[in-house]
């Protein structure tokens, strides 16, 4: 493994803030930086990136058709999401923001589970209580997605801290955006992680935008990785559209954390090529020229070119994968649409472990009361 996170917290010189990268835009690997991953692993990562991309496209379409209520995807950030998840060990835990469901899928979350969540039906692990894309998946060590920006960051630190106290061999990684660096929990999370040297990776997806606010208006710091200095947490900047660099940098930081070396902040520099979510229209605030320029860094194309250069990928492979994925997706959607919504009684469950008197009363009142004519 050639790419090593800076080990100390000395304020970095400008040089050390160079963007770590392996692949050029046409998928040529820099021999100095190439982590030389097994091709089977690279293929797995590549296929997962393609899968995420196809799912995003399809879900956005379903939203436009009014079949689901909302979608937030990771277009342009597939390498950041998938390759970093791929670098984790099974025992490690993810504390996600809302763009990393692809990571849960990579780790084995059944696609059906995710699609059920998009429909908020009775098979949804969140029991239809959260918006689409707010998945929860304990089985793959993937904590619950919420909307409030940043809150997962301190939780990831606490989880890792508990692991340290309990002498568990696990690392937590938490994802968040450039906007989230302004949140209270970013500040508290990095500070606590520094002081208590928790095994936590802070994976900052700098995708250029926080809805309409550009990343260079979010903060006046020279770069986001520099923010680690305030907490004595080493910072690394990495090309987030370069799957091999993402993998290598994450893996190095993970190993360091697992070996008692403490937390790392990694800034993955990429670009949100799509809208913020299905509710957003970026034409109101950014130039399409910028988006087009950035689209050239397409992480999927770059990794595909890398595989092609190794003669490890063909047009036929691509077609086969896409067809398989579409079929899988179709089946899941069909099943999710045929699944009933959660029962009305279930609305009162899981507030507490046992249902207290006032909720029993309210449940009875609701279940036995008249029904609305409004859809659900």
């Amino acid at each position: 493994m050639k790419v090593v996170a800076k080990q100390d917290s000395t304020p970095a010189s400008a040089a050390s803030r160079k963007l770590v990268s392996v692949l050029d835009l046409d998928g040529r690997a820099d021999p100095e930086q190439d982590p030389r991953l097994e091709l089977s692993l690279v293929k797995r990562i590549y296929e997962a990136m393609v899968r995420t991309h196809l799912i995003d496209a399809r879900l956005m379409k379903l939203q436009r058709q009014g079949r689901i209520g909302f979608h937030v995807g990771c277009e342009g950030e597939e390498a950041t999401v998938i390759a970093s998840s791929a670098a984790l060990r099974e025992q490690d835990w993810i504390f996600p923001c809302y763009r990393e469901v692809g990571g849960a899928l990579y780790r084995g979350l059944p696609l059906q589970s995710y699609i059920d969540n998009m429909y908020g039906n009775s098979n949804d692990t969140a029991k239809g209580r959260q918006m689409p894309d707010h998945v929860t998946a304990r089985s793959v060590h993937f904590a619950s997605i919420t909307a409030p920006i940043g809150t997962q960051i301190t939780q990831a630190v606490g989880f890792a801290w508990a692991a340290k106290i309990k002498k568990q061999d696990l690392v937590t990684v938490t994802y968040f955006g450039d906007g989230a660096t302004s949140s209270n929990d970013f500040h508290a999370g990095l500070n606590f992680a520094g002081v208590f040297q928790t095994p936590t990776l802070f994976l900052l997806r700098n995708n250029g935008w926080a809805i309409s606010v550009p990343a260079d208006h979010q903060t006046h710091s020279r770069c986001y990785a520099d923010k680690g200095i305030a907490y004595g947490v080493p910072g690394v900047r990495c090309d987030g559209t370069d799957a091999l660099a993402v993998y290598a940098v994450t893996r190095a930081a993970l190993e360091r954390a697992a070996n008692g070396g403490g937390p790392t902040l990694i800034e993955f520099v990429s670009y949100r090529t799509g809208p913020h979510s299905s509710s957003d229209d970026p034409s109101a605030y950014r130039d399409t020229a910028e988006t087009e320029e950035q689209a050239k860094r397409d992480p999927i194309k770059r990794l595909r070119r890398y595989l092609e250069r190794q003669n490890a990928w063909s047009e036929a492979d691509q077609t086969a994968v896409e067809e398989r994925l579409q079929a899988e997706l179709n089946a899941c959607i069909e099943r999710a649409e045929a699944t009933a919504p959660p029962s009305i009684a279930s609305m009162f469950e899981d507030v507490f472990e046992d249902m207290p008197a006032h909720l029993l009363e309210q449940q009875a009142e609701c279940v036995n009361g008249p029904r609305t004519r409004k859809r659900h």
Binding site: M131, A147, I211, S212, V213, S279, F348, Q362, G369
Partner: protein, 324 residues
């Protein structure tokens, strides 16, 4: 008169305030170039520039903390919190600082600002895009809380709130944002704070509501009319300081009260109003005052129309109370 929905009424009020008073500045996440995720500030960045319509970093703490500083220095900041669900990082500045500035400095410093907050359900927002965090602010001495139910009131109340010399939370029901249009006068006019409005007269039962549930209350009132029950519907409009008098007068007439709110039941304004009615009109009560509210669960996604106290839930409360 122009036909406006609530979003355009709010937008119009902001524009007028900014034209008439150069102390007024807007700040918040995405309020500038984008014009807000609900478009309430659309066009204002272009008209008034980035110094007065300010896109901030993603920090509600910072938005309210700096807005307080601006207010102390004589501006009239109108911060926007993108969704009511995201106001909690600003609660320390609101409760410990904005609310107490006048009091703790013996009037030496005042903190006039209007915090605009889109609230409530009805947009399929689930847990985190549907909350109505009014209770904690009503409970906090020093804050005013306003919640319009229609475009006309939204504009007039917002213009009045901006003239207040105290901090006001201005809750905008998202469910109403684009639900209806009505004639709204051009130019400036005020709807006085702390004045409820009897929007429908009736003699059998007093029905108190506000915000998005006001429309449901009216629908329910129309529905029970067929059963010969005439509900007097009161739109509170300002939640705190609340216009107790108007409600008490009505209950003295009807002897009965049903109160409706989206926020969870426990310690909501419903309980407060029941207690006030007991204190001020006990002998007039001919039936137990009744609450129809959001359930004491987090706000669900799929079942939101079962969670909300919509007309179908208000109707039985009305009939049972009227027939008690």
């Amino acid at each position: 008169m122009t036909q406006m929905n609530m979003v355009s009424a709010v937008n119009d009020a902001l524009r007028i305030a900014m034209q008439n008073d150069e102390r007024v500045v807007l700040l918040g996440e995405d309020v500038g170039k984008l014009g807000g995720v609900f478009r309430a500030t659309a066009g204002l960045h272009k008209e008034f520039g980035g110094d007065r319509v300010i896109d901030t970093p993603l920090s509600e703490t910072g938005i309210i903390g700096t807005a307080i500083g601006m207010a102390l220095n004589g501006l009239r900041p109108i911060p926007e919190i993108q969704f009511g669900d995201f106001i909690y990082p600003a609660v320390d500045q609101l409760i410990n600082e904005a609310a107490k500035y006048r009091y703790r400095t013996g009037g030496d410093f005042v903190c006039p600002m209007v915090v605009r907050v889109p609230v409530g359900g009805g947009i399929r927002g689930g847990h985190y895009h549907s909350q109505t965090p009014e209770t904690m602010f009503i409970h906090t001495a020093g804050l005013k809380v306003v919640c319009p139910s229609n475009p006309y009131d939204a504009k007039g109340l917002l213009l009045a709130a901006i003239r207040e010399n105290d901090p006001v939370l201005f809750l905008e029901p998202k469910r109403v944002y684009r639900a209806l249009k009505m004639d709204v006068p051009e130019g400036s006019y005020l709807v006085e704070l702390s004045r409820a409005k009897v929007v429908r007269e009736g003699e059998h039962v007093t029905l108190v509501a506000w915000g998005a549930m006001l429309l449901e209350a009216i629908a329910a009132a129309e529905e029970v009319k067929e059963q010969g029950i005439e509900a007097e519907v009161i739109d509170l409009r300002t939640l705190w300081p609340v216009d107790t008098e108007t409600v008490v007068e009505s209950v003295k007439k009807t002897g009965r009260m049903v109160i409706v709110h989206e926020a969870a039941k426990a310690c909501g304004l419903g309980g407060e109003m029941v207690a006030q009615i007991c204190e001020k009109a006990f002998t007039h009560l001919q039936a137990p005052p009744r609450r129809v509210t959001g359930w004491d669960t987090p706000f669900p996604y799929t079942l939101e129309n079962e969670y909300l106290p919509l007309a179908h839930r208000i109707v039985p409360a009305l009939t049972e109370t009227a027939r008690y």
